[in-house]
Symmetry: C3
Subunit: 505 residues, 3 copies
């Protein structure tokens, strides 16, 4: 092809772009905003310019469900096959979400003639995004409130972390934590229970108005218990009011809850080879494309590409199906538990009990509570799903060797936790510490740090194929073994002391 | 409007852009550089290409004060109403700053026929930016040198942190820290005292030349004591030599001093919902615009938008006035003190004394040194300023509930600190530790970590509306309560031991 | 120049751009891919779309060695003066690297009629990049495997960090770490020994095929021992398969191994003034340009610009020569050793022995193992190279004062380590701890943390001209002195206890 042709083609391309944007903005010019939403916008554009602007930038403001439903299955973001006619032909504005299912929402209130609710819930989103809402309801995260607050072991941890300390007769006690503190501590990520405590009248720029009084609000935790009884908050990842797929695909978003020493996923990722490629090339990637084409749209995995996204190759072959049940590609439960084992069968972990009667998926000696866990066959299935993603860039030996390391690390960190737990039990048995609360003494916190932080960090580093020091010197193996040494040192010293005191008498 | 019109409009728009840039570069072509600055550039373009290039990219090199003064009040960056004629019509180059007020600067030296000083100070910047310099002089930060080095309590901390340890008769002592160490440790952020120790002749590429000998230099700390007697360093945030407003608005800039465990603001922000939106959308924001329009220019708060910037809505209504006194919108002092209370009335904290004679804004039992603090009415005023910023995106219930949580957290963390401090006092009283220096024994450092790190992190997370684990497992409540448990454990063990030893005798 | 001319010039410029890209893509259209590589691509484009796409974006796929060699010395990236004719005129594709030197590679296997190896090594890259490979072989990093695993002191640390703990008779022991764990722990960064354990037949989409069985694989550590006997992995920094210079210049890349508490370079950088400028302006910099022009291409130093890159000024004068021996501009060895001193003369540190017979470059009392270290004259030479880089933006007083602070900090942190080590030796001598392994008791780990983490962080902050809290409260001086206090506390308590027990008997 000659140069002249090339130049002509380029010019044609530029003109097409101009035409495309002209056409596009023409659609926006005529965009189908419902009367109700327009009425919301008339006031709220002034009162809350920030969120209105975000919405204007969003797809919700630019496309109607009817238009979105026309796309073929691979390209569709709207999974519901039926959407009420009343919603179909208007863009998704304020009223389309805040006005849904008014009777189910205890937070519904009359507002300028409309029945409006404050807390938009997964049940509301499910009107258009049915599949995602359904998948998410089977996700551990949807049950994060009860998995924490309904578990008698973890509740002890919550109490001694969030409660105000008080000292009586030289011993340290903790008051029951206030709801206000729980809401900004553990439940910030796990989700609060949002409850309607009545209604109140407020003076506003537009005169007196009545609003619901909510407790546990604001919150966007993953397992939020909503006033309509549903669980979860889509805005945990798809932040208001642009609700973008881009945001949910960006690892920085996940860091909101997955950066601390208990779940250091983001820290590990950011110093992994994958994270490096992301850091260097992210501005060139296509973060919006659905489906997400490996190689063309992105060249290194993000949290979403391994755990959630619909991934295809350039020919459109599906490498991984979209899922909002994030352990669909995960064989092992690594975090939040002393010992790692297969994932539990059900997402409501607080329903599980080990032989000792504790709501834990393993005994304190590490033996898994087998009946409650997925089978090796199911683990295999999940591993295969994940390996298919890895294989987009890596040979089968590479991938197999990676998983061998992970399984070895699970085994070895479990042994380390067992050594620490055996010592802890000995300390309890010899009455050097009191096991009525597992988390309220210095030595118990050392034990807790080993499994809640250091072996977690080690396992994450292994699972994610490297994460520099997070498996070694940065709250990894070094700190795990050091803390075990500290426990030994403490035990020797305290038992000697006890002996000396006893001999005295 | 038809497509053809659209296309024509688009083409017209592109041509306008071309014209604009052509015009713009034409201005640059004729830009009014003073003779003196031109002489500086003739040599320094070769010697220091990095900083000269930064300056060329800056507004200072592109616009004269006279031009900048023509803008209306909302759009003006130059707040001085009077600027000397000699400076007005030249762009702001090397000589315009380094040649100002030569007599006031002890670091002035003769350089190729000009009287030049090394350290450009807020007094120099005030020639054009009078209001900002004035506001900043009332800022706690401007007094950060003396607030640390003039406070007998904090000086003990400096000594035992920066001093070389020496051991005599089994006890641990610390030499007085060297100035070199202080300058790169505490004073890196607080600011050094820059002093002229004489002049020296150096061999250069242009022959022998004389230069001032400075100690405490280099430094860009916020409370730098300058050779002209002024306090502060505008380059702390507006980094040389582009001095951009963009940089000062970017949270990454604040992280230089606000990321450690004592002031973890940046860490907290980066995992907050606000930080997520920033991370995802920052490349699309308009970081340069003055005033800063919420929604249009940016869609999530940064450090600057809450604490400093002039914020307007799209109609030009002022939501928040610009301030360089960063607690103008803050009711509570959260950091650097054992107990949180209202902000002090004056920024020179070392002038404050509690009843016990310590330079602290509260007693060791938590009672605030009331006469020195702003009134509840003033706190209310400041809260209202901040709430107006929040209300750009959030409803009044949302905002009110947020502040309820913060006040509860201040109350509860103060109680935690009180429990730790009571125990510490008991330890001192029973002579298990020596209170002649509050920071030179292991048990004292545990106590210090509780209030200097862990409750600070907790309060920041609360104040900034969420910051994931920084209020829980990442140097938050978990570590605060754990350290309190460690103190108890230590106390019990050491008092038992003391008793045993005593019985022995 | 009139406006019309300006507009015409702008239009001309845009057309030139279009022509340029048209021409450019035309070259790609005809790009000279070898037959062998084309055969690889035919299958692997489908199997591994991710890496194939990365390669397509790389320079390797777009330019032949012959074309690359035409550039003048300053602009050349290909340092070899002779390249075999068989490689010269084809772009650098799969076969050009994976098919090189088949006989030297123990991992070579027959694959569809070609002899292919898995692990591309520095020796392979040296065909085109001879100088860089040579420089790198003199780099400490190339020897990172043996410098760790061949050093009896550090091997004790590896054992007690990575080994599974076991407890017998109340004492804590560690099994020898498994290779799988070492590979994802210390050796993730240091590099594994990649060994061929045989060959195996696998079922693939293309039928049965034979592949080598590798241990220590995957790995991209800096000192990887390759199946061809060479040391290192260029992909540590130039990540596969785009191998870009941009990536190696980006500090985020270095963070993969240099972020933990032992080598916190990235953390320090990210909160330094340099890091701030990088964070604010990196998207405007020219990351690809060779040579790298200070001021024009970048306005603040990155890891690479100080330690590796070929830096010039706008006139093309060389400020710093390119080097892949990264201590060419470094006078002092700061990290990984209890005491800092001049750099060792040779990169194979495990060949060094101090007077006490330990493989350390200093005695335990801090006295340097002088014969093994570079001379003060050589230190001076290296300092001068670095200072020339600093002088691109800073005056000589600024630079000299910076280095004064660094030397003072080295001296003072060495004193702190000496105080800690003296106490540790006393503890060993009094049999309160057992020195048969230096890292397996709680008190030994406290001592280790002082020099392996806290003084390192302090020295980095000093060396890099500021890094906020990393020299103070964030694993810096505060933690160094606190840990020394803890050691004292421990010692007093344990020696009292020993005395009490002895008196008992």
């Amino acid at each position: 092809m000659g140069f002249v042709m090339k130049v002509l083609k380029s010019i044609l391309f530029i003109f097409s772009l101009i035409l495309f944007f002209a056409f596009n903005s023409s659609i926006n010019g005529q965009k189908k905003i419902s009367e109700q939403t327009q009425e919301c916008l008339d006031c709220h554009s002034d009162i809350h310019p920030g969120i209105v602007h975000q919405w204007k930038e969003s797809l919700h403001s630019q496309i109607t469900p009817a238009e979105a439903m026309k796309k073929d299955k691979l390209h569709r973001k709207v999974s519901s096959l039926q959407i009420p006619d009343s919603l179909k032909n208007k863009v998704v504005g304020c009223y389309e979400c805040h006005g849904l299912n008014p009777k189910n929402h205890k937070d519904t209130f009359e507002h300028n003639g409309y029945m409006i609710h404050v807390v938009v819930s997964p049940k509301d989103c499910a009107v258009c995004h049915k599949e995602e809402a359904k998948q998410y309801s089977g996700n551990l995260m949807a049950h994060a409130y009860d998995n924490l607050m309904g578990n008698s072991v973890y509740k002890q941890l919550v109490k001694t972390t969030n409660g105000v300390p008080q000292t009586k007769n030289q011993s340290l006690n903790f008051k029951h934590p206030t709801k206000l503190t729980n809401a900004e501590s553990c439940l910030y990520c796990h989700g609060t229970k949002v409850e309607v405590k009545g209604f109140e009248t407020k003076e506003t720029d537009f005169g007196e108005m009545e609003f619901p009084v909510l407790t546990g609000w604001p919150n966007q935790g993953v397992g939020r218990v909503n006033p309509d009884g549903s669980l979860g908050s889509c805005t945990s990842c798809h932040s208001r009011h642009d609700f973008s797929i881009k945001m949910a695909r960006n690892p920085a978003t996940c860091s909101e809850c997955h950066k601390g020493p208990d779940v250091p996923a983001y820290k590990v990722y950011s110093v992994s080879k994958h994270g490096n490629i992301y850091n260097n090339n992210k501005s060139k990637w296509n973060w919006e494309s659905v489906p997400w084409t490996v190689g063309k749209d992105f060249t290194a995995p993000t949290c979403a590409s391994c755990h959630a996204s619909l991934i295809v190759d350039e020919s459109g072959n599906v490498i991984a199906e979209r899922t909002h049940k994030f352990n669909d590609r995960l064989a092992w439960r690594l975090i939040g538990v002393p010992y790692s084992q297969a994932h539990p069968k059900i997402p409501e972990i607080s329903k599980i009990k080990n032989k000792a009667g504790l709501q834990l998926v393993s005994e304190l000696n590490g033996e898994p509570a087998k009946n409650f866990l997925i089978t090796p066959a199911e683990q295999d299935k999940r591993n295969k799903r994940m390996k298919k993603v890895c294989s987009s860039c890596h040979s089968s030996s590479w991938v197999d060797n990676h998983f061998k390391r992970l399984e070895n690390t699970i085994k070895e960190t479990n042994k380390l936790v067992k050594a620490a737990t055996s010592l802890m039990i000995k300390i309890w048995n010899e009455k050097l510490a009191d096991d009525s609360n597992l988390f309220d003494e210095a030595i118990e916190r050392e034990w807790t740090s080993i499994w809640l932080f250091y072996t977690n960090s080690t396992k994450f580093t292994s699972a994610m194929g490297g994460g520099g020091d997070y498996g070694v010197f940065a709250e990894g193996r070094f700190q795990a073994t050091q803390t075990l040494m500290k426990m030994y040192d403490w035990y020797k010293q305290h038992s000697k002391m006890k002996k000396l005191s006893a001999e005295k008498k």
